[in-house]
């Protein structure tokens, strides 16, 4: 029996296989990793470069931070150096790494110093990415091997630890996954004493701006701590890679219930600390982890700025490798515990409760509430770091966004008190004071529902004052004769405040629910219209209209052509269309399947935001959005909504694409079957006359001398007549092919029917023989707007049928009349009539009235008639003629078509 304990986790294996596949075409990343500046990372990297270069490898220096030290600078000699890109920034010109030049040069190995470097976002020309690690990601994706350097303090998850150790907060950080996913990390270690000695000898290069921090930073205790941190991080990495190799190669790693950590964050200052703590704990436990933000009605009341913090927090979490989730719920604790149970989370990390004393007792904090609800998970409380002072000053820096105060609501609140007082006076004679208190409570409740929290509180207080003034003896003074009324006041105030607060909460929740419903409704409206739309171009138009309307922006859906290149849509009839979309950014978004532009990681300085539709492999298209008001797109809710819209549009475009493919497959199949039937039919209709021609002509050639002139002539005549039959078959096939291909352009002019029929008759003269055709076209018929030669063809084919299917000597009658803006033309014959039930099949290709007869015609004649008449906007039908024979009726429009 297989022990379940020995089973490898299939998800883990799949992830490993996927990662391997993704890496197959990817460049390898080698990081030279150090505890602090000055340990000699760049020097070691260049040394290694020389060793590899000597073996003949195609190695290029992409960018090496200029060192003031000849020893390091000398090492650059002898290696190919990529030219740097001059970037203008605040009046200065800086030399920056040139990503496009590197992609164009495509060396086997590229050296780019300083992995944590930030690009000059406001520089000219603006960089593609905000950070160098993003440049390097793109290089790796392009299949270039990259060597780079980084210090331990730049790792995101260690950021606050380093800040605690050194007191200097590092602004330039890299996501841990870059470090963890690197193919090779080389630790460059130097004992702190040696490092300090080198520093004092002036052997360490430091950027100008860092010099002031030198004394604080380069203390021996700091250097020891940083070195230890680097060694530990390196050890973790080695350990993790050993485990990964083992589990992948032998699949022998004992299957264990993997831990899942949930990190619950709010918009408070502790959030970043919680996220980083979660990352460290998840690494230590080798657990999957999620960062959860709960949107409660309470949080919706926070200022815009604080709510925007959520994006930063969740983005940080994502960069550290967490899955991020936003939940909605009445209280954070409830939503969290429910989510923890559905995801089988084993540990939930929360911040320390902030409410203390009686407030904590009155309304337990999320942490306390969660601890009470915890059943299948542990709650881990993280103590706040000692940086709250800093955080407080941070908060003071933030310009407070003023919430508009609705003074009219406060006025209404006071009016409510006045009304209650008036009712109180009316009741005073016959009711006790206790009942009047009830009226005031009712008033405060209504104020809570109608006017919100602030005005309701005002009503509560005003009520107490009014009650005291008007109804508590001595009347019309604020003094109170009977001390027991003080109890009434307190209870009344507390009750009204609680009720007002509750009512305001209900009101707030209703509003939130309303907003959510509106969002759902907007999305539903678009989905419904998209579902009813056919054709990708039309889908794009509908999508643009909805996005432009909902987000008050200009938008455009860019679709790739057959070669995968995006192009501007040819027609932009919608008013909300974006005309200035940058195709090069959009193309990057399409190729990489990642968003770019406004407020994203890539080209954040661009005015518009570009979202990919569908996955990276699908490459369905790009949605570009240029907001009139940036907030409309940058708010978290709006952003999420926009992403959902993009996802919906992606689905619709994918559906449209599949429909197009299915349609072309159907057309191909139909063409194929047409071709087969055609071949079968033609081979009969062509071989028969060919046999006659070949036989007759060979007889003439071989035995012509021995034949009398009459016999020779007879043979020649039959050759000619069979050749004419073949000509007709071929002409019909070609005509039908022309119609099938859809490339027939009607050359319409005003024509008279008798002229067209006359032309047909003179063309048919010989073939008609003893068949008579009676024209009953009256002189007063209006002209028709048709392609003359095609309508002549219709008459020819109809008369040809008369010749083939009716006995010689009978007459066919052609007549016409005007009915409902249409010319109705009727062709009656006196033949055997139509086979029962076949009147419509007659117009199908290769159908004939009597099968396999000697009659030549390939059954194409009527099919061509139908194609021609339909192309003119009319139709053709066949029916039994009253009194025997067949009747063909076709219609032609009399009006010049409006389009």
């Amino acid at each position: 029996m297989l022990k379940s304990g020995m089973r490898p986790d299939p998800d883990q294996l799949l992830a490993a296989v996927n990662a391997q596949e993704a890496r197959a075409g990817r460049g390898k990343l080698r990081i030279f990793f150090g505890g602090s500046a000055g340990v000699g990372k760049t020097y070691s990297m260049l040394e290694a470069a020389h060793r590899v270069h000597e073996t003949g490898a195609d190695l290029v220096l992409g960018y090496i931070q200029p060192h003031g030290r000849t020893e390091t600078d000398n090492l650059r000699n002898g290696l190919e150096q990529l030219p740097t890109l001059p970037v203008r920034y605040r009046g200065l010109v800086r030399q920056e790494f040139d990503l496009d030049a590197a992609l164009k040069r495509r060396p086997a190995i590229l050296l780019v110093d300083e992995l944590a470097h930030s690009n000059l976002i406001e520089g000219e020309p603006p960089p593609r990415h905000a950070k160098r690690w993003q440049d390097i990601e793109e290089l790796l994706e392009a299949g270039i091997n990259v060597w780079t350097t980084v210090n331990v303090q730049h790792l995101e998850s260690l950021n606050d630890l380093v800040a605690q150790i050194t007191g200097v907060r590092q602004r330039e950080t890299i996501p841990d996954r870059i470090f963890d996913d690197a193919d090779e990390v080389e630790l460059i270690d130097l004992p702190p004493d040696d490092l300090l000695a080198r520093l004092h000898a002036g052997l360490i290069y430091l950027p100008e701006e860092a010099r002031t921090a030198v004394d604080r930073f380069f203390r021996k205790s700091n250097l020891i701590a940083l070195r230890e941190l680097a060694l530990r991080r390196m050890a973790d990495r080695v350990d993790a890679s050993a485990r990964a190799t083992a589990s992948l190669d032998r699949a022998s790693r004992a299957w264990m219930a993997r831990d899942r950590l949930l990190v619950a964050v709010g918009p408070d200052e502790q959030a970043e600390q919680l996220v980083r703590a979660g990352k460290r704990m998840a690494d230590a436990l080798d657990a999957a982890w999620s960062v959860v933000y709960v949107e409660t009605p309470e949080l919706l009341r926070l200022s815009q700025h604080q709510r925007n913090r959520r994006i930063d927090i969740l983005r940080l979490a994502e960069s550290l490798g967490a899955e991020t989730v936003t939940l909605d719920g009445p209280t954070a604790a409830e939503a969290l515990s429910e989510y923890a149970q559905t995801r089988n989370a084993t540990r939930v990390i929360v911040g320390a409760p902030k409410r203390r004393g009686w407030r904590a007792w009155l309304r337990p904090s999320t942490t306390t509430a969660l601890a009470r609800k915890a059943k299948a998970f542990d709650v881990i409380v993280i103590a706040p770091a000692g940086t709250s002072k800093q955080a407080k000053t941070d908060r003071n820096d933030v310009p407070s966004v003023s919430v508009p105060i609705h003074w009219d609501r406060y006025a209404w609140a006071l009016a409510t008190t006045l009304i209650c007082t008036a009712i109180g006076f009316a009741m005073q004679e016959s009711f006790e004071a206790a009942n009047i208190v009830m009226i005031y409570v009712l008033g405060a409740t209504i104020a809570g529902v109608r006017f919100g929290r602030g005005p309701a509180v005002l009503t509560a207080i005003a009520n107490v004052i009014a009650f005291d003034f008007c109804f508590v003896p001595p009347h019309f003074t604020f003094s109170v004769a009977d001390a027991q009324y003080v109890v009434t006041f307190v209870v009344m105030l507390v009750v009204t405040l609680v009720i007002a607060n509750l009512m305001a909460s209900v009101r707030q929740q209703t509003r939130v629910a309303g907003a959510r419903e509106r969002r759902t409704h907007l999305l539903y409206a678009m989905s419904r219209e998209l579902a009813a739309t056919r054709g990708i171009a039309e889908l794009a138009r509908v999508a643009v209209r909805h996005v432009a309307e909902v987000f008050q922006c200009q938008a455009v859906v860019l679709l790739p052509d057959a070669s995968g290149k995006l192009r501007q849509p040819s027609d932009l009839p919608e008013s909300g269309s974006l005309r200035s979309a940058d195709l090069s950014i959009a193309q990057w978004v399409l190729d990489h399947g990642r968003r770019a532009g406004l407020d994203s990681d890539t080209l954040p300085a661009a005015p518009a935001l570009y979202l990919p539709l569908g996955s990276e492999q699908q490459k369905l298209g790009v949605l570009a959005v240029l907001p009139q008001n940036r907030r409309r797109v940058l708010l978290p809710e709006q952003r999420r909504l926009l992403e959902t819209f993009a996802a919906q549009i992606g689905l619709a475009v994918e559906r449209g694409k599949l429909a197009e493919i299915a349609e072309s497959a159907r057309v191909a199949a139909e063409t194929e079957s047409l071709r087969n039937t055609l071949l079968a039919s033609i081979s009969h209709d062509l071989r028969t006359p060919l046999a006659v021609i070949a036989g007759a002509s060979s007889t003439l050639a071989e035995h012509g001398e021995g034949l009398d002139p009459a016999a020779r002539r007879k043979l020649a005549v039959s050759i000619e007549s069979k050749a004419r039959d073949m000509t007709d078959v071929v002409a019909n096939v070609l005509d039908l092919m022309r119609f099938e291909s859809g490339h027939v352009v009607l050359r319409r002019e005003w024509e008279t029917l008798d002229d067209l029929l006359g032309t047909a008759l003179s063309r048919m003269q010989e073939r008609l023989g003893t068949h008579r055709v009676i024209s009953q076209l009256t002189a007063d018929l209006p002209p028709v707007y048709v392609d003359a030669s095609l309508i002549v063809q219709v008459f020819v084919n109809l008369l040809d049928n008369v010749v083939k299917y009716t006995p010689p000597g009978t007459a066919a009658t052609i007549s016409a009349a005007v009915r409902d803006d249409m010319m109705v033309v009727t062709c009656d014959d006196a033949g055997p009539g139509l086979p029962p039930g076949e009147s419509n099949r007659l117009f199908e290709k290769f159908h004939r009235g009597n099968d396999e007869g000697a009659t030549v015609g390939a059954g194409l004649g009527l099919a061509i008639c139908r194609a021609i008449v339909r192309a003119h906007g009319g139709d053709i039908t066949a029916e039994a003629r009253p009194g025997g024979g067949a009747r063909f009726v076709f219609t032609l429009p009399l009006q010049e078509p409006s389009s």
Binding site: A723, W750, D755, G758, T759
Partner: protein, 232 residues
């Protein structure tokens, strides 16, 4: 034959068809010069001064239209196109380029010879002004604008006379709608095919024994009209 032997330049790259044309034309009493390419055709047309050019459009070195335009640059000699191109637009293109008539392949011998004869007559007639026409039993004097039928005078409008003149000048050959309208109505009425249709209808009522089955005034659907006169 009242005239000396007419000389016909045949431009055709298909040897079999060329052979048939040679036999056919020689039997009918014409002298035949043959060539296969557009380049040779232009040279032969200059050096031999043929009385008629019978040309295929799909030639190995260039389109026959090029030859037609080149020849029209210096000579009014009649040109008859013999081509497998059957679309109306292609016919009109050749006629506009300067061809006098258009015969589609496959062709019948009598039809081709009739066209050749008509084209050669046009060459003779173009020297003098056409003044008299006999259509069926109606005799028309185009100069005086008088017509007499078996039942007395036949009345034509001035417009109808002008259309008849145009058709008569190229009797037996196709006259395009554009040419007819431009000559009878003026170049500013080119799009007005309705008036032309009405005019032709009226002419048929007066000229044809059975207007439903015209014998003299024939329609080339989508291209133009042809006035077929009984052989002289």
């Amino acid at each position: 034959m009242t005239q000396a032997l007419h000389q016909v330049l045949v431009v055709e790259d298909e040897p079999d068809i060329r052979g048939i044309l040679r036999t056919l034309l020689k039997t009918a009493g014409y002298r035949v010069i043959e060539t296969e390419t557009a380049a040779r055709a232009i040279i032969e047309a200059k050096s031999h001064k043929p009385d008629l050019l019978l040309i295929d459009l799909g030639l190995p070195d260039a389109d026959g239209l090029k030859v037609i335009r080149a020849v029209r640059g210096w000579s009014p000699l009649p040109i008859v196109v013999l081509s497998a191109r059957t679309m109306e637009a292609q016919k009109i293109e050749a006629l506009d380029a300067g061809a006098d008539d258009y015969v589609t392949k496959p062709f019948s011998a009598p039809e081709l010879l009739a066209r050749v004869r008509a084209a050669l007559r046009r060459n003779v007639r173009s020297a003098e002004h056409v003044s008299h026409l006999d259509i069926g039993s109606i005799a028309i004097d185009l100069t005086r604008r008088q017509a007499v039928g078996p039942d007395g005078d036949v009345h034509f409008t001035p417009l109808e006379y002008r259309v008849l003149e145009s058709l008569a000048r190229q009797a037996g050959m196709i006259v395009t709608q554009r040419q007819l309208i431009s000559e009878a109505w003026g170049p500013d009425k080119l799009g007005d095919t309705r008036s032309l249709r009405v005019c032709i209808k009226n002419l048929r009522q007066k000229l044809e024994p059975d207007p439903a089955r015209p014998q003299y005034l024939l329609t080339e659907a989508g291209v133009g009209y042809r006035l077929l006169l009984p052989a002289e």
